[in-house]
């Protein structure tokens, strides 16, 4: 099914006789769910764009590429730096903005500006009974009623099918530069990232792979130059500075986890405390791409290491199996949290037909 309006979408859900596999472009779907495919790609187009208010309202099936292009026309962007996971997951297809929201897809700049959910101002969605619900809106500050916007972000279609999303967008900076720090081992290289993030220099990216730590600053040209000098003076190692497009290219590698595209093996996404990031990787003996100053680890491992991963994290975060078999994609929640999750799902999707089983 591929509805072309919110009303058609609501009808499709209300009239469904069995489970539905809800997806945008299917480029970042994780976990296992079965059912009749319900695609949102037919719900496309920009509803409202006010560059002077940094506000964008767009139908959920709109291609991410189109959103990016519309914003670029006004020298603006989505601040949270959406990863393109097609190369990592071996997918084809067109990423939709609804899929971005449904998976709360957030890249390196999260350390500075927050995740997708933090830029998301409002949603419209169709719940599991086929009812259209709206929450939030198009203004930046809004505490009217419960914040279902955050709840829907990252819910992967299990609570409702998104039909429209609104964002706070960001002006593209005038300049960007990246410090490439070499000659440090992983422990020292990750410590350098934490030092940068703990400085007043407004770092917008802090990552490490291939023996190299990357620290990014963005903003007005003079300010970028100043912060590069200050950070260089404070961080050890052999530092070279890359600017403009060359810097942007480095961050696309991190954002999309490019180093693992051509490698075989399971890929785990681990959210943890930056200070234990090196220890977790050392214990598991895998290959890592570290982002968010170490708070996010993309880890390449041989298949079947799920129990080892859980043991290494030891409650200091959680791991998602983004590529591989043999373990559920999403980690189990604590029983009292799982009870709340099950309760919320049952309220929003009483028949249990939306991406059933996808999130465990």
């Amino acid at each position: 099914m591929r509805p072309t309006s919110e009303a058609e979408l609501a009808e499709a859900v209300a009239g469904a006789s069995g489970p539905l596999l809800v997806r945008g472009g299917g480029t970042r779907t994780l976990g296992h769910a079965v059912g009749e495919v319900l695609e949102t790609g037919g719900l496309s187009g920009v509803e409202l764009y006010e560059p002077g208010a940094l506000t964008l309202v767009v139908r959920a099936g709109t291609a991410l590429a189109e959103v990016t292009q519309v914003l670029a026309g006004e020298r603006q962007r989505l601040a949270f730096e959406v990863p393109d996971l097609r190369g990592l997951l071996g997918r084809e297809g067109v990423s939709t903005i609804g899929g971005v929201v449904a998976s709360n897809a957030s890249g390196p700049r999260r350390v500075q500006v927050g995740a997708c959910r933090d830029a998301l101002l409002g949603v419209r969605f169709v719940d599991g009974a086929g009812t259209v619900v709206k929450n939030g809106g198009r203004v930046m500050k809004n505490v009217t009623g419960y914040d279902l916007v955050k709840l829907l972000a990252g819910s992967r279609g299990t609570l409702g099918v998104l039909s429209e999303v609104s964002f706070k967008v960001q002006a593209q900076p005038e300049a960007e530069a990246t410090l490439m720090v070499e000659g440090l081992d992983d422990v020292a290289g990750l410590a350098a990232l934490r030092a940068a993030l703990g400085s007043p220099f407004d770092v917008s990216g802090a990552a490490r792979h291939g023996g190299r730590s990357l620290i990014r600053v963005e903003g007005m040209a003079g300010s970028v130059g100043y912060r590069v000098r200050e950070l260089t003076a404070r961080i050890g190692g052999e530092i070279s500075v890359v600017e403009g497009e060359a810097s942007a290219a480095l961050w696309r590698q991190v954002r999309d986890v490019v180093p693992f595209h051509t490698r075989t093996g399971d890929v785990w996404r681990i959210a943890t405390l930056p200070t234990v990031a090196a220890m977790i990787v050392e214990q598991l003996k895998g290959e890592a791409v570290w982002d968010w100053g170490g708070g996010l680890i993309w880890l390449l491992l041989d298949p079947g290491r799920g129990a080892d991963v859980a043991a290494a994290i030891a409650g200091r975060g959680h791991a998602t199996l983004v590529r591989g078999q043999g373990a559920p994609a999403f980690p189990p929640e604590a029983p009292e949290v799982a009870a709340l999750v099950a309760g919320v799902k049952a309220k929003f999707d009483p028949r249990g037909i939306l991406n059933a089983g996808m999130m465990g």
């Binding site: 006010e50 560059p51 002077g52 208010a53 506000t55 006004e74 709360n104 959910r117 933090d118 719940d127 009812t131 619900v133 709206k134 929450n135 809106g137 198009r138 203004v139 930046m140 500050k141 809004n142 505490v143 009217t144 009623g145 419960y146 914040d147 279902l148 955050k150 709840l151 990252g154 002006a171 593209q172 900076p173 934490r194 993030l197 703990g198 007043p200 407004d202 007005m220 003079g222 300010s223 100043y226 200050e230 405390l273 200070t275 708070g295 996010l296 200091r316 975060g317 959680h318 980690p331 929640e333 009292e336 949290v337 709340l340 999750v341 919320v344 309220k347 929003f348 999130m359 465990g360």
Partner: protein, 477 residues
Amino acid sequence: MDMPAPDLGVISRKARIVARLRAILPADAVIDALEELRVYECDALTAYRCPPLAAVLPRTTEEVSAVLRVCWEEGVPVVPRGSGTSLAGGAMPTADSVILGVARMNAVIETDYENRFIRVQSGRTNLSVSGAVEAEGFFYAPDPSSQLACAIAGNIAMNSGGAHCLKYGVTTNNLLGVTLVKMDGTVVTLGGPWGDPSGLDLLGVVCGSEGQLGVVTEAWLRILPKPEGARPVLVGFNSNEVAGACVADIIRAGILPVAIEFMDRPCIRATEAFAKAGYPDCEALLIIEVEGSDAEISEQLARIRQIALAHEPVEFREAADEDQAKRIWLGRKSAFGAMGQINDYMCLDGTIPVSSLAHVLKRIGEMSREFGLDVGNVFHAGDGNMHPLILFDANKPGDLERCEAFGAEILKLCVEVGGCLTGEHGVGIEKRDLMAVQFAPEDMEAQMRVKDVFDPKWLLNPAKVFPLGISAVRRAG
């Protein structure tokens, strides 16, 4: 404003309920004498008052859990309370309710500068969170104007903002995790110091749920390194439209000030008479603050000056030193006090798209004449969060009602232009009956279903947020 009739069955069992609470808490943690309960009869929305059945002041998560379990078993409504600074009546009790105050839970549990978080008990005041990390060069970003008094618990309940959230976001953007006690006493951990949720973002819906889903007893908060410096400029205009256009141009240019504050003529005049900050007598005034090193501040201010001058301001004043910076902020910070000198006032909190600013101010001016009540506007212009202050005389019969009617019309206007009823204060009882202006019944139904899951008996702060008519069946149990 109506509140539901108290449950006389609960009131008749007061002695038993208090005895059970005393059995699980230290002697000084249970208050049941009427004269002592007066303290808890209202929050900062002082127009409405009602002493609770009892008040408890637990010191630990375990004590909170025990209290809630007893109240759950006894079918007693519980109203959680941080510092009682809510302007929306979020902590106002009913006669059959127990106030659960977290004021004694104010410890710092852990500070971790390398991982950039602090874990506190939720009764700790907002400003003292920053105070705890200041020596290491860090701060906690959300800064509601009540930050000296307000508690993190209340900040989380209302998803509080502040003047600097244009850059740093509001509470939800700075909250990493919580320890939450459900009404049945179950203790739940949502999120954690790493921030990223592993499954559904339940933390996201708890933040801003106005104490209706659970009692937050502990929280992990993000802390940020302090910027090297900050400096404000003051820009005066002879038209609200032009001031609004200047704000849009600054935002569009990609400059991200930490704050853009707006005051209109009635507010400027009242403030000037009261604080004598030396503001120009003009139609609209902007205070724009930027952060960074001296050189970075100069770079940003040069750009702002260029943009502002293109709009032909009547005044552009840059703070040359700390003293001048203080004078620029003096009037803005005295604005509420200045209006309060003139008369009683009601502070509204609707948000509008920045593009509607001039239109909304013009309509408010017209309505002010229709209702015969003066209004001053002071607000966060960068994010469209308005704070119209309507002046009235509480001793004059009918004035409060007229003021509330005027306020309701302003909030309806905010929704009409694409905004919302409340940007940072919360719904509470104050905006409860206006919810249907912004939401369709099915929108509110979806929200109430979340409460059904967390608090199936609807005992936590039950008569708030949702219009009484639509929550009646659920509250009846």
